[in-house]
Amino acid sequence: MSEAVALIVLAASLVAAIARPRWAPDWAVAAGGVILLLATGILSLHGARSAVSDLGPTVGFLAALLVLADGCRRAGMFEALGGAMALGSRGRPARLLAMVFLVAALTTAVLSLDATVVLLTPIVFVTAARLRANPRPHVYACSHLANSASLLLPMSNLTNLLAFQASGLSFTRFGGLMALPWLVALAVEWVVLRRSFAGELRGGAPRSARPTDRPEVPWFALAVVALALIGFGLSSLIGVAPAWIAAGAAVVLALRERAPVSEMARAAQPTFLVFVLALGIIVHAASQHGLSSAVASLMPHGTTLPVLLAVAGISAVLANLLNNLPATLIILPVAASSGAGQVLAMLVGVNIGPNLTYVGSLATLLWRRIAHAHDHETDLGEFTRLGLRTVPLGLAASTAALWLALQVL
């Protein structure tokens, strides 16, 4: 009974997040669900408190990263990146794609998937349009890399932040183990995109960057981000949690850009933070009432290559059914009990897997099909075919690279 209620609350929160009804915002449904679980005694106060203390630092880190990315936007970082991509392309579409790869991979790794999807992708579209290059391969590349290039660092994806906390790895060890899988994922994307869009990328675009396409380089913001990265690397040595370093960087940049406090608060997306926290507590309750043992019965044990491949595959399937955030919350406690290797294999699955559909999961895709049958945006069979070419290959190759890194490092 308790298990059924916890699962219904979880399902209701996910339905609200996917369907986005105006009258029932996802964060309110999830928060209401937590209150219901507490009121019915399915979740004890003690359990809720321990879940909050587990998730709190992660949510704080997430908030700091969102504000840091917004500070970079204010400083003109993304326009500058657009200018750099245009200059580096030298009027050739294939070179522009290489520049998009470089910029999207670094943006995702350092400022997270959200920054690439929300802030960089529109800039990539504008850059391609201004250069009179077909924007399709470049926009699709940017969207794919937001997922597959988010393997590298703990802050590259919310899934990584959650796993980082649970894995007990240091920042540098996480990045060290994930460097090779990250590079392999990028290589798979490059080869497949380059072949799939050979026609669009052929020859030279007739127009190269104009002087107006060269915005000022935001040196201060770049320096803040670089110092934050160095700080993350040293965090375990100096004994300061990376979240505090991110918060410091976010505040310094916001002060420099004179961002009003109200806008900083909006950039942190408080409703999203509430949603993540509440969803984490709900999954914690469901896990205690049987979800964890159900997941554990599915998951293999050990860190051999076949086991890691199975973990990545199961994680990718669940991420595609539900979305990667709930998939991570559900699998993480089980994977963490088998060690860091399984946690990282899970991340390969939940980070690369969502490229199979352009909306992140089949549940979302199904909803869009029903709700917006005549929407142009849903007419993206080509994007799905691209996903079918990159995802299975990327999953297998990156997991093999992870296995190798675990043997060597």
Binding site: D114, V117, P122, E200, Q269, F272
Partner: protein
């Protein structure tokens, strides 16, 4: 004679040059550009694909992607008209590229379009949308190589005989 010249980013110069060379002086010329609206919407609606996120809307100073796409389409059509150096109508459409091109040719006598695939003889010299337009337009077609046509030696070898 009503002729439609399909202007697209990579190949428009060749189309305009062949149109200028081959079309009769009294032809009624329309320069057509079609923007694929799906890519632009895909780029603009990123936040909607991220579970639970509700980022603040972009500041009003940022031009919407649609405005950028329309501005660039107009600039391209203006460049094409200058290169053509004779009177022509310009038409800018949005939507599914291949369908819009066919629709724009409903009452035309001739479509001028360019190959946009591989630079050698064979079916791969046509991109997907170009192939669709070529197969479906209800009028005559002038099909242009964007650069000098490849030599006869680039023809694919004949299929092996099976006895």
């Amino acid at each position: 004679m009503r002729a439609v010249v399909w202007i697209s980013e990579g190949t428009w110069q060749a189309c305009v040059d062949e149109a200028a060379a081959f079309l009769p002086k009294d032809a009624d010329v329309t320069l057509l550009h079609v923007a694929p609206s799906d890519v632009e919407e895909f780029a603009a609606r990123g936040p909607g694909r991220l579970l639970g996120r509700h980022p603040p809307p972009p500041p009003p100073a940022d031009p919407p992607l649609r405005a950028v796409a329309e501005e660039e389409a107009q600039a391209l059509l203006a460049d094409a008209q200058t290169r053509l150096a004779r009177p022509a109508h310009t038409v800018s459409r949005r939507g599914r590229v291949e369908r819009e091109v066919v629709a724009a040719c409903a009452s035309a006598d001739l479509l001028v379009l360019a190959r946009d695939g591989e630079a050698r003889l064979g079916p791969k010299s046509l991109g997907k949308h170009t192939r669709f337009a070529l197969d479906h337009v209800p009028c005559q077609v002038l099909l242009v190589w964007p650069e000098a046509p490849p030599g006869i030696e680039t023809i694919p070898p004949p299929p092996r005989d099976h006895h």
